[in-house]
Symmetry: C2
Subunit: 347 residues, 2 copies
């Protein structure tokens, strides 16, 4: 019998609720001989207020022993903006070198897109996860005065770009359409942008079957709403990836369906799976949150750990459930959606 | 009799074509006693290839004498990405301290939005134009090697933020809905983001009638497609403003209609008006470009120079023309659209 050691960080707001449903579906999808050991970590706003801690070293150490991490959502209005994001979520992504931040953008049949004509959307964004403007390399001078100056430094390395670009080419090569689009802003951010483009072009030479394309980030947002079917795989920097994947979620039926994986392909540290959405404090505790994004993130988690059949089962179940949602008389609660998906996956 | 001294920079690609129509409509809108003196500057790819120059000091000096600048589009695939953008377009914005980059997002009646249900969109983005990641403060080390490191520094000053935030509050106060949304990413870019938020909140106290809101840039892109009617005035940084205004153009019927003004409110240097779109080399010289964005930019130019009635006439003419476009049997050429608008404005 196998054991799956899962670290679970429900986090803030609706994080608790959606993670519970994610675990329900995960257990239901796995064969009986797989033992799931979950260790839940109380991190987020509550702990911060109680102890001042965001991510203690001891917890970081323990997390290293997990096969994977399932995270709900981080952030609460009672905590100054940035404290939990930088001190917990981004700290995990950086400490565990999650350089492949994988975010599918797929419009499932039956799901209404805000775009007229419900276009055929099925792409995946490979967002760099450990560099760019996210490195936390900023500061301020004369803080709080009329003379304040604040900086943010975007750091980009050939090493960091090459590994994520290679990952994206391999993914594009494995997909039927074999198309990869680089998104940056190399007409303005010329140093970072030219480095991305140089490496992209060099790796492209090794993948003659992959059709490549370059778009400035501003132009990319246009195509996300006017021609999203043109995209297959997209590779981009940390900040542009953040922006584009929220937009991708919006055009594919909303943030309630958008899954993500923070992946360390080497396996040196556990990868972390989380919905793209935030903690949504306005609807927390009311059973209103859609757990589907978390459940799809659980599918990514299982796929990453080698449970391909179980991951596929969850995706099929979600697709079937989504196809029937429009016909429902009333919206279901968070746990009703989780129950329905767990039942489909088991059945 | 009055004189309007206009510097004209057609630039690259379709820039030439759309600027010609812009000038046609401008002349047609002005009363006979206003003398228009245009000085055309040959800047862009052709000049760069011929002389290596992007923006000679002598030209910059001459441009200072203009009442306003009308620009078509800058950029060509034959020139390395960034050379003309940084050496000409951004150089003008920075040299003339165009700190208010004004970009309306309006869905005109009769124009089809790619968004289902054609929502009611009428907002304006006040994009900061002289700071942030656009300052050109980056570099690279070990360039061209496997060890390359590239940086981009975002510079943000209390001075620079306060003046654009004040401009945005004044605009919000003057509009019927009196609503202002700050867009940034202060949960990640904490130094720059907190400076923006601190100043925004401080100025807000002076405008009790203006309702305020804050959104992270990623969340803002979601609302641009799911709920664009929620926005009235948006104030944001240079890069986020670049991204959001292309998205705004997309949801309001396309980049062919999106106008912009690079404004120096003090009048110390001439302001510059240009369509948001680029040089579109793929359709250049074919009479296919839509000059409407340039013509709406001409309206902004006239409004800025105190010709409010003439600006309004152009906007009314564009609205009327757009309302009838859907019924046209065939698309009109660039000059046919210009002619039609010039005739409406004169009539
Ligand atoms: C919460 C925030 C720090 C995070 C990010 O910016 O990466 C979120 O927006 C995301 O996309 O996962
Ligand atoms: C051409 C480019 C430098 C420019 C910008 O990034 O500002 C353009 O995209 C714009 O929005 O005016």
């Amino acid at each position: 019998s196998r054991t799956l050691r899962l670290a679970v960080i429900p986090g803030d707001g609706i994080g608790q609720e959606v993670v519970a449903e994610g675990l329900k579906v995960l257990t239901s999808a796995l064969p009986a001989d797989v033992k799931v050991e979950t260790a839940e970590y109380d991190l987020g706003a509550r702990r911060y207020h109680a102890t001042g801690e965001t991510l203690p070293d001891s917890v970081l150490e323990e997390l290293k022993g997990a096969d994977a991490i399932l995270l709900g959502a981080i952030g609460d209005p009672s905590v100054p903006s940035g404290v939990l994001e930088r001190g917990l979520l981004l700290k995990l992504r950086f400490a565990f070198d999650h350089h492949v931040n994988l975010r599918p953008g797929k419009l499932f049949p039956g799901v209404a897109s805000p775009l007229a004509g419900n276009p055929d959307i099925d792409f995946v964004v490979v967002r760099e996860g450990t560099e760019g403007p996210y490195v936390g390399n900023g500061g301020s001078l004369r803080t709080g005065t009329d003379q304040e100056i604040a900086t943010e430094v975007s750091l980009n390395t050939a090493f960091g770009i090459e590994r994520v670009v290679r990952d994206a080419f391999a993914r594009a090569q494995a997909r039927p359409r074999k198309k990869l689009t680089l998104v940056h802003k190399n007409n303005v951010l010329v140093h970072a942008g030219h480095l991305w483009k140089r490496i992209f072009d060099a790796v492209a030479a090794e993948y003659p079957e992959v059709a490549t394309d370059y778009l400035h980030v501003d132009a990319a947002t246009i195509f996300f709403v006017t021609q999203p079917e043109r995209f297959d795989v997209i590779v981009t920097d940390n900040l542009f990836g953040d922006i584009l994947t929220d937009l991708a979620a919006a055009v594919t039926g909303g943030i309630g369906l958008a899954a993500s994986g923070n992946i360390n392909p080497s396996g040196a540290f556990p990868s972390m799976f989380e919905p793209v959405h935030g903690s949504a404090p306005d609807i927390a505790g009311q059973g209103k949150a859609d757990p589907t994004a978390t459940i799809l993130s659980v599918a990514m988690l299982l796929g990453h750990l080698g449970y391909a059949a179980e991951a596929a089962k969850i995706e099929v179940a979600v697709a079937a459930d989504l196809a029937e949602r429009a016909a429902l008389a009333a919206p279901r609660s968070t746990s009703e959606i989780g129950d329905a998906l767990a039942a489909r996956v088991a059945g």
